[in-house]
Symmetry: C2
Subunit: 113 residues, 2 copies
């Protein structure tokens, strides 16, 4: 089930990259690429976790969490290099928005053990 | 299609509430409630937009955007009142995390007109 798909982040402050997008029709190598991007993110210094959901209408939200702005900058450079190698953004996304934000507080209901 | 489901927010800075959750099985009044919450949010002072996706495995991400921390505080109070009236969180969510963040920069690919 989904309970382990929520990121377990430390106490704030830390940083979030909120990526919202609307996909084009067809896969065009996207699924493989998305998997490679997550694998790459999790190897980056300062990576804290990632949450990603895509609905049946092609709209998706991915939020990755980072210890610093510097970690985000490194991740941006590496991920854009990988995407560029595969000629990606134009064919995969109708539109997208990337928002970089500082998480100031967090609370919630933890999963039952 | 999904292009109009991405929020059109102003230039940063502004604030984001990132709500990630794993649903329980069954609807239990959830769909109606979710709709009521979005309608309520869009009437709040300082509301800038909302993006919401839930995957087939029950994991969901909703990001709402706000002009100030004060607007978020008001929204939190009103939404919790609405949810409490319907005895909601415990029956709808296995677990959830709410993160309040300040959006510092944003960029992207706008939808084709």
């Amino acid at each position: 089930m989904g309970t382990d798909r929520l990121a377990r982040t430390p106490e704030p402050p830390y940083f979030a990259v909120i990526f919202t997008s609307a996909r084009t029709d067809g896969d065009n190598g996207y699924a493989e690429m998305a998997e490679a991007l997550v694998a790459l993110a999790s190897q980056q210094p300062g990576f804290l976790g990632i949450e990603s959901v895509r609905g049946s209408d092609g709209v998706g939200i991915t939020v990755s969490y980072w210890s610093s702005q510097e970690a985000i900058g490194n991740w941006k450079m590496n991920s854009e290099h990988l995407v560029a190698q595969r000629h990606g953004k134009a064919k995969w996304y109708q539109n997208f928005v990337v928002r970089v934000a500082k998480v100031e507080r967090a609370y919630g209901k933890p999963p039952a053990e």
